[in-house]
């Protein structure tokens, strides 16, 4: 028996830390790490509600989210390395080609 709010609060803390990291970090790899933190928070919620409702759908979706996160981090790091090769920096504040 676990109170449902325990995993939900844990997920909320992880998600808030992820939001802070995405907004405050300049290094692109650290921004990607913060995004992983937020995806993990969502997964904790999915698994907690899956166990609460005794339905497997949440866990299956957590597995799909993990897969998509793996793809996302692969593409993201490839883009980061490409930016580093072209511009010698991965500072997200200095990569402003699309900024008008």
């Amino acid at each position: 028996m676990i109170r449902l709010v325990f995993p939900l609060f844990f997920a909320a803390i992880l998600f808030s830390a992820g939001i802070y990291g995405v907004l405050a970090r300049r290094n692109a790899v650290l921004v990607l790490m913060s995004i992983e933190l937020m995806l993990n928070a969502v997964n904790v919620n999915l698994v907690a509600f899956s166990q609460y409702l005794h339905q497997l759908t949440g866990q299956i979706f957590a597995l799909f989210v993990i897969t998509v996160a793996a793809g996302e981090i692969g593409i993201g790091l490839a883009i980061v390395i490409l930016i580093y090769r072209n511009r010698e920096t991965i500072d997200v504040d200095e990569v402003d080609l699309l900024k008008w």
Partner: protein, 164 residues
């Protein structure tokens, strides 16, 4: 509090501290190591909740593969060390947004699910396999095609061009 709740509370506090250290550390490699701690505590949380398969997948994919990928990316890119180099000027604003989201979520969740309890029944792997390959077989195939596309895309993006 039951034994499960104590275990979850310890894991949750450890994971929360690690997550906060991850987003505030001054060294990128330390941040990656704090990410390992956070992901491992999330895996432990899944195991305490009884979701065995998701917990071990978390250990394999995140702690095993994604962290190694991130460490390689850190190795290939030169990252300066120090607060001013890693964080931008909107730190205070970002902290306000983060804390606002946290307080809002906690009030909302406490109000909606305050007295509810999870009766943890461990999920048998057979159930997960049956659900994955019977009810969710189409999304499973779509996700595998997506993963293949991401793999090809990452190779195309990261390789050096001919003649360079």
């Amino acid at each position: 509090m039951t034994a499960q709740e104590w275990a979850f509370a310890i894991v949750g506090v450890l994971g929360s501290v690690a997550a906060i250290r991850l987003v505030t550390s001054k060294n990128v490699v330390h941040a990656a190591l704090w990410l390992v701690v956070t992901l491992a505590t999330v895996a432990a949380a899944y195991l305490i909740l009884g979701a065995e398969f998701v917990g071990w997948v978390q250990v394999l994919i995140y702690v095993g593969a994604i962290v190694v990928l991130l460490l390689f990316a850190l190795m290939l890119t030169k990252a300066p060390i120090g607060r001013e180099a890693l964080d931008n000027q909107q730190r205070g604003l970002a902290a306000i947004v983060g804390l606002g989201v946290l307080v809002g979520l906690i009030f909302l969740l406490q109000g909606a699910f305050g007295g509810k309890r999870i009766h943890t029944v461990p999920t048998v792997m057979k159930q997960v396999g049956t659900a994955l390959f019977r009810d969710y077989v189409l999304p499973f195939e779509v996700v595998s095609v997506l993963l293949l596309a991401a793999l090809v895309g990452a190779i195309v993006l990261a390789r050096k061009d001919e003649g360079e």
